[in-house]
Amino acid sequence: MKKTKIIAGIFWAFLGLIVFIILFPGLNNFSVSVSKLPFMKINPRYTGGEKAYHLVAEKCTLDIRRPVFNGFLKESNSGFVQIDWRGDLPALINDSIDYNGDGEKDFFIQINRKNLKTDLKSFNPKVKDVVISTPTSYGWAVRVGLLKE
């Protein structure tokens, strides 16, 4: 029994050595495998959620994402909708947004890119306020706070 334990312990230790030797050369492959696991995707609270629809203007595009109400065990009562402007943006952005796709405008947003000021006019009681309005590498992003419908 004592000898078996010793052999098992040494085998386990050598296995550790082998694992370490193949770890670094195989790191890219292991990482790609791990990245394919079902939970290995960034929470919509950070990514902003999936694109709901896409509008094309003269020099820029507008992506309206699905509202995010993610919670731990159940959906949260408050969330946000993210809107991304991409391309050659005007100094003053004016857009009316229908975030839930019901055919009615839910809010009007005005962004002054020079003084970084963002104004929101709500037409829907579920629309709260501007949570984030920031320049990004691709243009501009805004998150508007929402209450669950």
């Binding site: 312990g9 230790a13 990482s31 929470n43 990514t47 320049p135």
Partner: protein, 383 residues
């Protein structure tokens, strides 16, 4: 069998030490250069060669002198400093600032580190997603690579990760070595259970808020990596907490106590790693027949992992990070690296050689990239 296997003294002759260093020399050469060293850029060539020599000389001295911690700590501290340099440098290159903006969060460009892992577990299980604004694969410090590195290292080394792989531990390890004698000699050892409380708190709060709360509010190493841009009272409060905890737990207390206080009293990942000590093949053993109960090991242990009771019972606690400081201090070679299943006092040299090779290989290869980059950056800055 015990008598056949029993050995004492960890020093080796010059020839034997060179022989034991040879495999490390060859493997690190392959890993660092890919088998084809590139000396086209002088600064890169010098940086690569210097780090390669440093790594192997330190390993040689571990065998030649029989001391572990003394040489481990050099690479460990250099790793911590260079990793912070690499992170800050990356931040300055990409964002022209050490802070990250709201846009960086929205675009998921925040570098990931292993301290986030405890907070990922529950949300990953229940929401099938990662609650961190980083990159899953590709780019600088991506989530998948860091998870693989930490998981494998923790399964093999247990809490040894905290002394052989963590790129933050070198900070308080370094500061704990500044004074010769501690100013504060006694701290209530109940504090060493604090990381478990922090672990539970951050796991629950991260799950409830779907935010990496430790990173957002507590992590002292934000002070030497990246932090949120100060634009409000909340972000200013966070910056204040980061700086206070870094100053208190990473600088002042380690200097005063000669202990790694951040690792001992705060780090939630250290708490998980200490649990993994139960399943790793490598351990630290006490040879009771050789021990004369001088308790020098208890005094020098930087993580409060050894008590007089542990020594008397012949078992080290789960807090042990296998740094080797106790072994360097033991005049009897009574405390030694061991392998699970192998009785204490036996196969001492074999266990040490195997553990050192495995753990040092991990640290050397994991740290080499950032140390080379840092050294390269310094060379370019000077010349």
């Amino acid at each position: 069998m015990d008598n056949i296997l029993k050995t004492t003294g960890m020093k080796k002759s010059l020839g034997k030490s060179l022989l034991y260093t040879l495999p490390m020399f060859l493997i690190t050469f392959m890993f660092l250069t890919g088998g084809k060293p590139n000396f086209s850029d002088t600064a890169s060539g010098i940086a690569l060669l210097t780090v390669f020599i440093l790594v192997n000389v330190l390993f040689f001295f571990m065998h030649f002198t029989g001391k572990t911690d003394k040489y481990r700590a050099v690479l460990f501290i250099v790793f911590a400093l260079s990793l912070s340099y690499a992170l800050i440098n990356n931040m300055l290159e990409v964002r022209k600032a050490m802070y990250f903006s709201q846009a960086d969060i929205l675009e998921c460009k925040i570098p990931f580190c292993h301290l986030v892992i405890p907070m990922m577990i529950l949300p990953a299980a229940f929401t099938k997603s990662i609650i961190f604004p980083g990159s899953i694969i590709g780019g600088f410090a991506n989530i998948s690579s860091m998870v693989v590195l930490w998981l494998v290292a923790t399964l093999v080394l247990g809490r040894g990760f905290c002394s052989w792989g963590c790129f933050y531990g070198g900070w308080d390890d370094g500061f704990s070595r500044i004074r010769k004698r501690p100013v504060i000699k006694k701290i209530n050892e109940l504090w060493k259970w604090m990381p478990y409380a922090v672990l539970i708190m951050v796991i629950l709060s991260a799950a409830l808020t779907l935010m990496p709360t430790y990173c957002s509010w507590i992590c002292p190493f934000k002070a030497v990596t990246e932090f949120e841009q100060v634009t409000s009272v909340e972000s200013a409060t966070k910056a204040g907490i980061f700086l206070s905890l870094f100053g208190g737990l990473v600088i002042v207390l380690p200097v005063m106590t000669k202990k790694r206080t951040q690792c001992s009293f705060l780090c939630p990942l250290g708490a998980i790693n200490s649990l993994s000590n139960k399943i790793t093949p490598f351990t630290v053993k006490i040879d009771k027949s050789a021990c004369n109960e001088c308790f020098k090991c208890v005094g020098v242990c930087p993580l409060y992992a050894l008590s007089k009771e542990d020594i008397r019972s012949g078992k080290v606690s789960i807090f042990c990070s296998k740094c080797g400081k106790c072994m360097d201090a033991c005049p009897q070679n009574a405390i030694h690296y061991g392998i699970k299943g192998v009785p204490s006092g036996t196969l001492k040299n074999f266990s040490r050689n195997l553990f050192l090779f495995v753990s040092y290989l991990f640290m050397a290869v994991f740290s080499a990239g950032s140390i080379i980059n840092t050294f390269h950056g310094l060379l370019k800055f000077i010349f």
